[in-house]
Subunit: 240 residues, 6 copies
């Protein structure tokens, strides 16, 4: 049987950690190889602490951010992490990048896809990346795109939790139990030295989603991650 | 292991057939016993053909409707069908009925619950029954309701497809493959002699939802049923 | 050919004037007879000016309000105005009133129905009346309700403009040109002596909706009334 | 009197058939000339069956698609069909195309406009074309665009039914009776040899919308097409 | 100058603590006297821990719950706490209670009102209480209700945070800085011995809302409470 | 203390007058200096009357529009008005303009920001400008954008009232009392000689919003302006 995979598209190099670290580690444990695409380093807009250091340059910020992300990826068991360095605030997403991502879809045939929410009044890059990721998925489904290649099927897409969820009109309709891999996610979080102020914020997010996951099931769940599914779930039965 | 069960709450005695017949037959096949509560016979509002017969009376309508529903229930493999005869157009849902339904929840501890959509500008009873069914679920979860009994957990609730889905602002976010039991559902549909004009309508609904289920998965699905999940799915992984 | 009719259901005795006076006068001119049901006089909640008079009593308020409404009805060419005196703030809408309104539907077979918006955070009676009016329509459609009578068809329902439209999440999707009958509407408005502070407010509403109607067509329209259609328009062509 | 016209803007060369074939044929019968703009052939993303043939090339796909669309246009009585060949998956909509479409608006002064839904998570081109079509309409209304020409008025815009309507948050608020021209629409549908799997799907769509149109009126309607009106209806009366 | 007041309407006797404890303590500190109405004790549905004790009875649960709420009220500086004992799961809200609450509005003329969210699929009492509280406000505004009394003005209404905010479609559009009174809120929370599992959950809620309040201002805020304003803010300027 | 400022971003050179003239004059009176950026003159799409004059050219339209806007700015007490001449119908908003606007944010550190609504089916430029204005705000908040400069904080953004508010799904949740400066706003309005048909329309808008502001407060307000706040209000108390 072919290697099963997951595709995570992260606008900036830290997003996949806060927002999808649990899902990555959980599926890695089950043999599903995660490919993480960091479209930019977030060097302009998400590196405040680094910029407060003397003599900082864009290249040094990128290099620090890359190291952090690679450390986190290791902690989570990511199979492949790619840095496309497309800039941020604003991110640039030309057709060339679109087709490159379509190629990744075709190469992986991922079992599922994770990316950003559709709206975010605090962040201009995140919704662009959400649309871009879904657009590339559609291109990869087109029979006339690089005819002869095996076209992409219909992998589900889950949108990860934004920083201020209600303001982004994001609706969590999937709650994932990440209790078993929480230690790994926290370890990955602690790799993000430049954004230490978020460590506890996202730990509390995991705790709140854990409590909510318990309330929506009959299970004991301590840590959770929430997602918004874009497409209907196609199921064989209705038993949870 | 205890018998697994499902609870279906139907405003009128035919609703469970058109809207959830596939789910009932499918789970019956897998040993999950369905209890169907027909809160009314739909004798006033959903029996036009019967009322066109000479000398029709409310009691004869009810009796005909009951026979049809029992026939359909047999075709689908329903374990228990109950007729509460609460009237229709409008339906009456007093607290006594609420507590009776809470008792059913406590007796069954169903794995999932099916009922009507939250809105329906064409039907006043359906949204009332949706709210009533969810309300009884909450009462059954209360530790102070009949203390000493085992309280209900958190079974998921799925809202079945209304007659004109968009007008009801109902969003199908779960598509169930019912291809394997389609023949049973069609057989049950054909038990509804009084509403023959709906047979083909709901057959086409099943075909359209089947096509859509295929498009949202990589599976070949011919017949489907669509549902709107009320609560987030609590999951162990994101692989479909 | 049978007399064509329209049914207007007004929570309080002045609502039909501000909100639907133009539609009533316009259709009256074309031979469509309007029946206006004033479910209450609005004696408690919409008669501030009267209550500021010395020695005012509920009966005197009702009597004044009735006189005003009858004057307005005459100005608009209303065929039949009924006062059901069901109280206000809160209005009482028992099943007896529901069946009485269903009888009106069956007696009139109206070409269209006008009533209040579905939401109104400033007014508790209006949304109740909206639901009540639509509920009675559904009862009148039921073959088992007073079998033998001709059942109601599917007259469109239009929701009239609330006082603060956006706050009521009311969406004007029909703009009616009332320029030809504006004088009559203004005359009717001026019958409402107890709410003189609203005369100019609703004149401006008519002017704004007139400008908007012009902008959404290629016509010169000076005064308009806006409505939210509840059901889809069933049409023979798409030419406006 | 000037020739009355309609403008249909179709992202790919088959969309106008499935989604608006009935409206086109119906108005053609009444002397309203339809101009159909096929912005692309859908050669990459909507020609799976053709790409399964040996030795297929983009040009051959386009040529086949064009032949199919021309055949369908003949069956429907389209007056003018144009192929702008702007590519698909993704479609390219530069300002030059925008002004070209504005010119079409100015040349035709259409009585109404048909195009795609505002959202579609399954198709990236459709929402772009919807926005593009509405944008060009606004440019054609600008007095400073090619001053001296007669500016466009305010033709209504109707959005046609997407493949999975609820997922596109598309709300059908206009139901058009196409029973009288159904045979022509089916004939046009059968011209689309490359998408035979959709023939019955869209036949069932027409049947379901027909039943719904009957339910929302007092007419016998067998086949229907559903649309979402973008702007309020400006009307002279409220009688359906 | 008259004593300024605030009115908090709590479905169950603990709700005001988790959801509005900070607002109460903060305004108390500034001399605004809070009246808290606990419509029920939450004895059936929100006292799981108490019901697990041997020999528990409804009266003992109520008595325990009352003691806890009184302790919390003291910690927060509540001026008046009332227990109306209307039952829960389901709560009973007859007209008598409605007029009693209208009397409270008239007696207090509160500067603002706090109550529950409009929707809550996990709790049937909360939305009922939200509607009830707003309904009583409207009755208290009616000049014909107890004529001669000074009618209520237009105090703003803020809806407090439900347990699972997104699922309740509740939108936090007001963030209140409660850092200065956090210790009092935590002390009040710790009075709720029967729901110790919620202590840390609501501490984390306060921390998350604090971080968000900082992000939406240029202030350092550690603890926050979020509210949804029902009505537009009427302001003298736009400077925050 | 530094000069306090406000930033108003207007798609066309007249928008700031109709939509925000009151806010500008009111804050000017209080010493808050308004900078108005007119991104275009609206020379193509919003100058119908000028284009009806013989021999009109784009440059003459721009020059007239500029004079009008400068006159209005003087009447309102605007501190700085800039004309960026970016074209209209469609407006062009390249990255260069984005960074220029980010520079304005950094130079002003405005107390609040005013711009257009997020949607407008009648106007393609307005929503683009809304997104552009918010995007530039986010860029100005980025520490890596021109490192060394003081980054922007979190000024609130208010969206001003579009021409047909409900059709733009714009929700007025802030009502500003502009009674004290109404004369100035009317004077500014009368500077817009090219759009005289809008003078009374926007006067009536101010009157309606004034009445609504009164109804939502206990104040006497004659003229108002309505806004939609994008972000939650961060407050120190809940007293209006």
């Amino acid at each position: 049987m072919a290697q099963r995979t997951a595709l995570i598209v992260s606008a900036h190099s830290a997003d996949f950690v806060w927002r999808a670290g649990g899902a990555i580690a959980l599926h890695a444990k089950r043999g599903i190889a995660a490919t993480v695409i960091c479209l930019s380093y977030g060097e302009r807009g998400e590196s405040a602490k680094l910029w407060r250091q003397d003599g900082m340059t864009p290249d040094r910020v990128k290099s620090e951010r890359r190291k952090e992300a690679e450390g986190a990826a290791r902690a989570l068991g990511v199979s492949d992490i790619q840095f496309w360095d497309l800039g941020d605030y604003p991110i640039a997403l030309p057709d060339e990048a679109l087709f490159r991502l379509a190629d990744v879809y075709r190469a992986l045939h991922p079992s599922f896809v994770l990316t950003h929410s559709k709206e975010d009044p605090y962040n201009h890059d995140h919704p662009l990346v959400s649309e871009f990721t879904q657009h590339a998925r559609i291109v990869a489904q087109a029979h006339g795109h690089k005819p002869g290649e095996k076209v992409l099927g219909a992998p589900p897409v889950f949108l990860f939790e934004p920083h201020q969820p209600e303001q982004c009109r994001w609706m969590p309709n999937v709650l994932l139990d990440i209790t078993a891999v929480w230690e790994k996610k926290r370890e990955a979080i602690e790799c993000m030295a430049g954004q230490e102020h978020l460590w506890d914020y996202y730990t509390r997010v995991a705790q709140q989603r854990g409590v909510q996951a318990s309330r929506n099931s009959d299970k004991k769940i301590t840590y959770g991650e929430a997602y918004e599914a874009v497409f209907p779930h196609v199921v064989e039965d209705l038993v949870p």
